[in-house]
Every structure is written in C-alpha cells, then in structure tokens.
Amino acid sequence: MKAVCWMGKSSMETRTVPDPELINPHDAIIKVTRTAICGSDLHLYDGFIPTMESGDIMGHEFMGLVEEVGPEVANLKRGDRVVVPFTIACGNCIFCKKKFWAACDNTNPNAHLMEKAYGYSGAGLFGYSHMMGGYAGGQAQYVRVPFANVGPLKIENDLPDEKVLFLSDIFPTGYMAAENAQIQPGDTVAVWGCGPVGQFAIASAFMLGAARVIAIDRFQERLALARSLGAITVDYSEEDVSVLTALKDLTGGVGPDSCIDAVGLEAHSNELQGVYDVVKTALFMETDRPSVLRQAIQAVRKGGTLSIPGVYGGLLDKVPFGAAFGKGITMKMGQTNMHNYMKPLLERVEKGQIDPSYIISHRITLEQAPEMYKVWRDKKEKVTKIVIDPWA
C-alpha cells in the first residue's frame, strides 16, 4: 500500500510499504477513505517530538471502511463506516473507567520511554513517535486499529466523509478545550491560534454559552474564518497591536474570563521573547517555544481559567508562574479524551448545528502530501486544513 513516511526532520516521503495485518484479538484493519494532516503533525515534521524513526507512517486523523476484524471485535463488521479517534484506549483500565481515555494505562507498548520524560505514560497514539506507542498512522491506504471494540465511531448516515472526518481529533479537541475553559454563560473567551483546533474551540465556546470570543492570529484567511463564526479578531502582527492591551480594551480592563492556547510549543512571537525562544530551542537549551502560554497567563482575568489544547512536549523557560499564582488562575490541559465527545458531536453534525468541513482549504493525494507538509509549515497558499484521499 501507499503511505506517508517520516524520513527525518523536514523530510516526508510517500512510499510503498507492506499492508497492515491483524495482530491482536481486538484489532481491526481499516481501509482509509479520508485522512488529514494535523497541526500537531507539523511538530513531528519540524523535529520537535523525539523518538521518531525513519520509515514511521504518519497520520492520526482518519476514517474509513472496516476491512477485517479480529476474533474479539463483536461490534464491527466488514464494510462498516467508522471514524477512528487518534488516542488508543483499552476501555478496561482505571483511567478508561474514569473516562480519562487519553490516560489509558495499557495501550502504549513503549510506555517506559514516556515514563522517563513524564513520570507516567498516557495512551498510545497513531503515527506520533515511538514514545507515544510506535503505532503506524493513518496517512495510508490501510491501517491497523487496536482495541477496535472501544474506539471507532460507526457512521450510520449518508453524511460525506468531510463532514465527519474531524471527529477523529480536531473537533473533539477544540470542544474539550472549550469545556476545559469552564465557560459560564455570558463569559468572554480569548483564543490564541485560529488554526483548525482554534476554529473548533471558537465554535464550541459559543455552543457552551460564551457571549464574546476574541480570536488572535496573524493570518488573514484564518482571522476571516474566525469572524465568520462570530468572533472578534485581533491581528497581533499589525503594527502598534499589543495583545495584552487589546484584551484589556475588549473586556473593560477585566481580562478574559477564559483563555485558550490553541498554538502550543511552536509559537511565533513578534516580541523579544520570540527571539529568546528561537535561540534557546536552536541551542537545545529549551524544548518548546511557550510565548503564547506566557501571554495567556498574563492576559487571563483574576480567578480565570486557562485551557491548553496546544501540544507541549518538554521543558519550558521563563513561564510567569508568579502571575498564575498571584491571580489564582486554574489551568486545564491535556490530550483529548476523545471517546467522551465523538458521539455527542456527531449528533450536532447530524442535526446541522455545525459543518466541520468549512475549514478545509486543500484536497490532495498521498503523493502530494510531503510537499503540502512544507507548504502548511511555511504558512503558504492560505492553508487552513488539508484533507487527503488515499485512493485518488
């Protein structure tokens, strides 16, 4: 089959690799009908996430048709149409029982690698480095899905793939970000980053009762999408714009009730701290560039909530913890507990409350994927979201 393989930093190649086979009793093989490049894949492309190996198959947002199931998968059969969550959960450990699916105890075969860095390991993920499990991803024609009895969501309607594909990651991720923001009706929410997750966080914040959402980015196509959802936009790259001042101006000096960092570890900043982070990470003296996190901690109101769907990988420098403590803020973060959100969000799509396909800007083939990684990373061609048809 054809698959997008990581061959080193800034190097993706579409290669012919063996087809996946059933290995364990709860496995299924899925014929991928649509997959996507995720913003977090760009962290792999840029070499920010350790333990990638040449030849790793990329991709954790995918859906398709069940091709084959293992003997212990009773709920799926060949031909079923499914969306697969990017986190792999066993359903039986203490964390799955607590509905904290992203913290599954059992699905990371390389848990010891993550334990070294984080103390404990979370769930295995598709196509996201070996410390996260070493599973082959879904930017391919076929993929093996472990614990297919737990994760995949059956689609039993005739909605096109593009309207349900993002239930595999970014829509639930944006929704959980809004949920983590602890929004009360009438609240003002600020969202850094108007990429796909930021977009769904904005839409979800409104769904959860926010009166006003302020969206911060520097790319016009993304800011326009945010405005189309009803957000007020702040272009931080404009001359004389200070995000902190803007957020005070827009909230009567109070600050946003909740702040959402939908940017994560590769933030860009036009301030001095941006230069600092670029230098430090280049010299391996810092792993992440946390300028958005710093700004969000500064910006959020006293007693407010900071929600972090953006990925952070390692050790951060100069995080204003004194400000976080002094204002008594709450921080909520982490990988998405996908299984809690897929079904209710599918119902919202079925009812026509939201059409997630509005963020798609590019539809491509597997052969075009390596080039499009670069295009998106370099923020060219007005990319907002790239969807791949593996059979085109």
Binding site: A3, E53, G55, G91, K97, A111, L113, Y135
Partner: protein, 217 residues
Amino acid sequence: MSISPLTEKPYAEALPFSIGASVVVNGRYLSPPEDKDGKIWVRSSALVLRDAQTLYAMWRDVESAPRWQENIIEVVTTGPTTSRWSMKTSEDDDAKVIGWDSEVMADEPGVRIAWRSIGGESDNAGEVIFEAAPSGQGTVVTVLQEFRMGKLASAWETLVGRNPKQAVIENLRHFKALAETGEIPRSQLDPHGDRGIIGNLKRSSYGETVPTPTGSN
C-alpha cells in the same frame, strides 16, 4: 492496607529485611533493597482492575508465562512446586537458549508467591504479592526480584538489549495489560518504510528489538 509483615524468608538467602515485597511496613515506606555484592534487586508495582485470586492464578500458572514474559520460550512443570524455564538470549532465530530450574518456596493463594532458581544458567529469586487497592478498586500487584549477575544477566544485557531490572518492570506491565484487556498491545509488527541505520539504532535503544510477548499461546 498493607498485608501483615511476613517473617518467612523464601529467598536464596536472607533478605536485607524480613517482609518480602511489601512497600509499607508498620506505616513506613520501605525503599527496595540496594544492589550490592553482585546482586541486583528490582521492585515494581501495578494497579490491576481484577481480583487478587484471578491474578494469583494467572501468575501461578507457570506454563503460561511465555504468554506475557519477554523472551521466555517454554516453561515445563516438573513437580508440584518445580518447573524448568527456557529463555532466548536474543531475537535471532539461532539465538542461544539458556535454561534453569525454579522452585516455588511460598504459595498463598490470592496473597503471594515466592520462588527461586535451583540450578541451571540463572541465579534468581523473587516474590509477588497481591493486595487490595486502598480505593477498593482492583489489586495492587508488587513484584520483588533478585538476580545474581551471572551468565543470565550479562547475556541479557549484551544480547537482548534489556537489563534484567527493566525486563521485570516490562513483564509486570504485560501481565497487567493481559489481565485487564485479554491482550498485550503491540506495535512492533506494524508496517513502516525503510528504517535506515539510524532508525534501527533507535529501535534498539528504545528496547523495541525485544519482541513484545504475544499474550496468547
């Protein structure tokens, strides 16, 4: 809830303390024994959402150990308390196989099992205890294992790419996954493109050249 202190010493020799694998004794946390005099110790715990009796039975069924213990090819029962163990020393098809005999020294259904080797190419002793979790949900399984740095340990370290300590930790992880889910998650057999020299070096350093046990016979 810790189990009452055990005074029995079911090991190849006297333990540095007298309570086996327990982590808490008389309200105090006890750190695992130190490595010294050519002996290495490892202790690992896991919360498993199954009852102690089921987990005890799984562990006591020595002939099924190859399902969840890395590189163990075969275990044959040779008597009521004895068994013969065979282990591969690398993933190669023609890898050297080492063997040893093992004897169960203490056997308390649902509570603990202690064992030691009684000859052959490995000098080891160990104990596993099963305690109800404080939350009332599931069982805390704690294993304490001792190795002498003999042929086994050096073969293991040089050829298998796992030191014996890590192997004990990984085996408990496999045991937990098998007990909770009925399988041991594996990713080593997934398709991939060309690994190249660096990719293969990484595989080895991440411990991925040690085949994950299959979880089945």
